[in-house]
Symmetry: C2
Subunit: 256 residues, 2 copies
């Protein structure tokens, strides 16, 4: 039975999990940011990750539905607004949401919008991993559900490196294509500060702290497994499963 | 909008899905039955597949809980008895269940029982795929839940080929180690005849027939994704994810 960690030790332990398991360490991520992927492989990444993006507000709505105070709900609902965007009103311009921006990213690399939105052709392993995340958030304790979002602690640095690398190395990638990532570092810092404070405040027993750490490890596995599937289906040995997307399918009519 | 298939066409369409997508076509399965795997790779297979076996009665209990007639429940409960076994009573000897036999299989290749039962060290992708199956059965229609078991239509032949190949090629595999498979062809035929009759009788609209076919495709993906994960984590390029089982972990004290 391990003793309770103090606040500082606990935060350090959480950050250590990211240092060892976040998907910035995955070979696919390194190939992506170093310009070592083909356009087809980048398309496979954009297509599959769309499914992850599309389920983020679904899992956030599950958390929202379990929050018992106005302050917590106000904090969490912003995540849904960020991903779903909002229409123009009261003189405020419309805001494209993260999902719409991800579709623009997929469009930017030549994929057809309807095909991307349909979810056809994503790898079964992508669907299983993303759905495991949605189910985890519904079925585990609220503390664990919130803790599973803590991977955002580690995303701002990675986003910067990846966007810079992709812009430098791929002639089919423009700043506009990567617009999704422009606001994510600020949003991710705000959101992960909120979730981290919640976890530090509400993990009051050693077993709560362990549950928070396990939830963060689980989420790292969800992200890692998605890149595994891409690596092995499209990079090496490129054994694409039956029905999964193949080059040429789901292309925009005017794709170069 | 496709027309309704007659009973014979519909059954043929279901069998065609197995011919094209069942995991007997997966490279890992071929390596396994042709004696091309190392003992470590067979251990990884036994360990990971245990998790699948362990969840079969869980998913069958979900189906049982939704059946509305005695006849259907009697048919389905036998699956749970087969996997969980039963104690001796009324002069009848005890029956080892399929789960116990799978533990014996894992033991037979050198793995420690407690380690196998703990689920530690299984691949995240194994967990995600198996849990996707359990969730599918809970959340989809009863017809789709039952249809997802139809992969058993295709297992008897494969079991024979695999058991014969494993016995012939691996000196660490005995008939006793493979005892799990002795009764499975008969059980699988009985169970899949029952499930097939249910689907043929209850898919009364073209959209029901499509849902049944999609459920069977989904289940093929669940099986296929498990072998993908084994292939790529332990065969090539053997990029075992953080925390997953590695050679030497979870061995029996007296493992050779």
């Amino acid at each position: 039975m391990k003793a309770m960690m103090d606040r500082q030790e606990f935060e350090a332990a959480l950050r250590q999990i990211g240092a060892e398991r976040y998907h910035h360490l995955h070979p696919f991520q390194k190939l992506l940011q170093d310009g070592q992927l083909t356009k087809v492989q980048v398309q496979a990444w954009a297509l599959n990750r769309y499914y992850y993006q599309s389920q983020i507000p679904v899992k956030d709505a599950s958390i929202l539905a379990r929050l018992q105070t106005t302050a917590l709900r106000r904090g969490w609902r912003q995540r849904i607004i960020d991903h779903d965007g909002q229409e123009a009103s009261d003189g405020q311009p419309a805001q494209r949401g993260g999902i719409e921006k991800w579709i623009a990213l997929a469009d930017g690399v030549g994929l057809d919008r309807d095909y991307v939105e349909s979810g056809e052709g994503i790898l079964p392993a992508t669907r299983f991993a993303v759905d495991a995340y949605v189910h985890f958030v519904r079925e585990k304790s609220l503390l664990e559900a919130i803790a599973s979002s803590l991977t955002e602690l580690f995303s701002p640095t990675v986003i910067g490196i990846r966007s810079k690398g992709m812009l430098a190395h791929y002639d089919f990638i423009s700043q506009e294509t990567l617009a999704y990532f422009d606001k994510r570092p600020v949003q991710a810092k705000r959101d992960s500060d909120f979730a981290l404070a919640y976890c530090l405040d509400n993990a009051r027993r050693p077993e709560d702290q362990r549950a928070v750490m396990d939830a963060l490890r689980f989420k790292c596995e969800v992200l890692w497994a998605q890149l595994d599937a891409l690596y092995f289906s499209y990079v090496e040995p490129a054994m694409t499963p039956p029905d999964a997307w193949r080059p040429g399918i789901g292309m925009k009519a005017d794709a170069p």
